[in-house]
Symmetry: D2
Subunit: 340 residues, 4 copies
């Protein structure tokens, strides 16, 4: 019916004085259009995931989120039990470890002489700078950890989440994502663990050990665990920052578990037209059974460094300080059992 | 020197409880990277423009901002004297007039059968719907206004800003951008006025009048005024939403005035690689003298429906309720003189 | 039925030896997916427009196409009668005039010190450079043309297409778009004519003439003509490069003419999510009646400097050297009549 | 000097009759601006890589290239010895295997009811459809291959390139990328092998085998090999389609080998502003030492399904039918030695 199309007038955004983040998001909810409407919807969906006691919240991390300032935010989400499972690129955990070992990321500039940076042994990530010595320190300290883990684990092959767990145990920085996840029993999956400094630290470790007693990480060993988490959880929600391997891993686990995602928020700048997974729409994901047809879902086109903190701030404000949530890991994380 | 590159460590974003919009922006200021750093910088620059008593603030509007919920926000900025000159597409003023004449925009959806909408006489702007009858009402009421303006002005050719002024005088809705600008003597330039429903209302008007005594709008008449405003103002700042004709018009006025823009914020999703003006960098604008080499400037890549309200909310919070500003139009707007 | 979805297997692209452009496009037709499928479809649609004797072909130009190398291509299309009507930004015609007056555009670089360019009086358009002296020459020679046109036209107001026609008559360079259009009676509409150097040349002209006997261009006068062209043509096709005012002008003319576009190719990098017209899908245009529900239409996401020449090369190859087409302007262009 | 900026005038593109792909690219070379200039430069760089007898050519594949029609093109490049090493997502090899086992990809549509596709057991990749039964067939046939490989390899852990080699040996389709690479001794690295159907086939395989005698793939084992290839090659060139793990893997190998890439072509739609590796500029890569400061390099912003075939067609035309090249794998591929 025609009137169904014309039910909800756009209410114009009004800013009269100081607004909290959630008050602004509520304005976006009322205007409800373009990126503002999508962002408001993303907040609603994340809130729903958290209030649904039967939902496991997966967080996918890709892009240089940790170098750019999201490290504490994510560690705090883990400690507040507002995320249950993390799937990430190796690089984000490498940068987490750099700071855990007293290294830094620096505010830089995107217009700079990169060859001069190269000569100065400074690496650039858009407008973030990293000093080579922080990488060198990382390499040697982590190679030493690899050695100890290999000894402890006596040649058994680790999954990427066990590898993350072992690192988190040893990186005793309260702001570290790896350490917070270790303490809170939040599994961190790193499906492409080799494609990051972790891979080259492995080269160093292997050369130090003369190729003997080296740490073994299995490419496939993590697969059953993430599928089981999906399978055992009555409902599954995902928040995807970026796309790539982390998004694909969660969606594929949902298929393998024959469940389909129930709640989905994707924050990305990628678009569907060139056919890559990172930009694929959540509607496309329905055809595969990755996301349920009736799922609450939204794709926010924007920079995650702005969008994700807004979503978190809005939802934390909504939940209030009394809100508590039992982490999904309490029921599920096999690491917990293994520790006993 | 190497240490110059490594001075300011990224401080990680922390959200512990309810934050105001500006508190979140301050977090972005401290992390300072990627889109978050740029957004924080944009807030700083707009604040500076407003605190600089010698700066005229130009606001460029393109894209469907009014249909999507920015109408009241912009009208309020005009009334609060936080913007001095507007350069806009015709379409945004058309949609302002639609609401001033009791029409509406509706929250819709971007996945919809457009042919069904066509049959139902509903027009779609991404996820906003407009009913054809609101356009028809607009057409007839504005054609009547055109007739009266033509009679009053007795065949003199209007500039686009005089045209906007005459409409604003007659659209007596306090939330109307055109009306607020009329009341506050903020000139609204519409360089491509013909490329919008205003052009087709002119067809209707001309047919109603048998091509006699029709409203004349000159393509070039507005040019000297906008150049003079730039020229007489000690400093000029621009906030560009989108790009296209409105951005180009302000930048070209700055060249013609031999001044160059002093403060610039551009919010867009366009990129420079395909060479269009909308995505051109502010650095590129320096080569032309459109923007000064030492200008405070930033390009925010993002959806204006999210970014611009955040900037406004942050800056209003910073300014506080006691802040007052003398509108640039007090000194400058020739409309003011004409009225006496 | 399920089998309807699974009828046409992707045939993989095969390059064995030298291919003509159209042979490669035929490969894209057979693979048929992502950008390659869309590009092949765009070629088919342009070919159809040209073979449909009752179709008027509108070409919309936005972005810095002329500075970057598309000037001769467009002039040749006009002379070959493969385009009937042009709607363009002012800037493209300004750059056409610069070369007609022996100015140049230079291959430059996008990584360059823009402040040094500014000091050297060189303007940058992404990776194209223009020398200020070529603008100065343009300004003075066109101001002189404005003077002569104003005298000839004795104070009657010109439409933007009459303005373009008068310039084309005087710019006697066979490679000039304006001149080719003048000779071939192809109307060039410049709805935002004031927003370009043409506007600032008008300032110069007016100051030289002491504000007397100055060239008058009407904002609205062109509107009836473009609507009539649409109305009288049994079918209308558009090829849009970029978006903005030129795309909007053609689509609005189609509504005013109560016709709807029959064939549409849009080449752009803009996307729909932020609601701007330039990125709006052709499906969205159906709701308005701008494009017909059953229209042959495709939106190619890509750089026009690559995509448009590929389309033209493919279609010229298909048409062969014997193909002739009667230009739509023969039947329609009022300029032709006016000349007699 | 000023004249240095103004040396090379843009020569306008001219299409007079049938052009070969390389003739069109030569036009782009002469116009030299925006996307056309970049594409022409990419062709020059790939040609240079191939004519440099001391250069190893790495090809990075991400995005759904095989489903969309690039399978034969890549297999032919391998057989023609125009690529020496491949680094790919798992998914592209999964889709290669689907076709090797007589499955298909179908030309579909991006506007479709995805829930209907879901009910019909059809999966969508933008505008490509895949039938579930082709995945099921793949699962069972590959699980059987896994079993045989596990038996042959007797529990030794494979690297991802050994895994690809074993599959290629068994998939006896001449158009298969995996098979062509096997025959030509071109190593295929799949650093995130687990993140694709290969991971879920492993689940199936493990369940069939009751978790005994299962195929082991090591996450890190491939790392030394790709580093050695870089190290031993006097010069290294990369062509990156997309970005993600494959691009990162090649660039990281270049650092580990202390070499830096000498020639680089990246084809992507990603942009640098949000800080992800996929959109990072090649200049940024210089700061890391991933790409040499003096490298011949270009980033082409566009759809790889159009851009890469154009580059290949242009370069094959330039090389002519007499050109022969000794594959880098002749000297390097350890698989070759292992086979003896």
């Amino acid at each position: 019916m025609r009137k169904d199309y014309l039910q909800n007038p756009v209410k114009h955004i009004k800013i009269n004085g100081t607004l909290t983040v959630n008050q602004l998001i509520q304005q976006f909810q009322r205007s409800g259009s373009f990126g503002a409407g999508k962002l408001a919807r993303a907040c609603n969906i994340y809130e729903k995931m958290l209030r649904d006691k039967d939902c496991t919240v997966f967080l996918a991390l890709s892009g240089a989120l940790v170098p750019a300032g999201m490290r504490t935010l994510i560690a705090d989400l883990i400690r507040a039990k507002l995320v249950d499972v993390i799937v990430t690129t190796g690089a984000n955990m490498v940068h987490d470890a750099i700071e855990a070992l007293d290294g830094h990321h620096y505010k830089g500039n995107w217009i700079v002489d990169d060859y001069d940076l190269y000569r100065q042994h400074i690496f650039r990530i858009y407008d973030v700078f990293v000093a080579e010595e922080d990488y060198v320190k990382l390499d040697y300290q982590l190679a030493e950890m690899y050695r100890k883990i290999a000894i402890e684990r006596k040649g058994t092959r680790l999954s990427s989440n066990e590898f993350a767990f072992e690192l988190g145990k040893r990186l005793k920085d309260p702001n570290s994502i790896l350490h917070a996840a270790y303490e809170e029993h939040v599994p961190i999956f790193i499906p492409a663990v080799r494609d990051s400094e972790f891979g080259y630290i492995h080269l160093l470790h292997a050369s130090q050990e003369n190729q003997k007693n080296i740490l073994e990480v299995s490419a496939f060993k993590e697969t059953p665990l993430i599928c089981q988490i999906c399978e055992k959880s009555p409902r599954n929600g995902m928040i995807v920052i970026g796309g790539g391997v982390p998004r694909n891993t969660i969606q594929s686990a949902a298929i393998a578990a024959k469940k389909g995602i129930d709640y989905a928020v994707v924050i990305t700048m990628d678009r569907p037209e060139t056919g890559g997974l990172s930009g694929s729409t959540l509607r496309e994901s329905i055809s595969w059974g990755k996301v349920k047809g009736e799922a609450d879902k939204i794709m926010v086109i924007g920079d995650a460094l702005v969008m994700f903190p807004m979503i978190v701030a809005s939802v934390i404000e909504r939940l209030g300080s009394d809100f508590t949530r039992t982490s999904g890991s309490k029921r599920r994380n096999p690491e917990t059992k293994r520790k006993k």
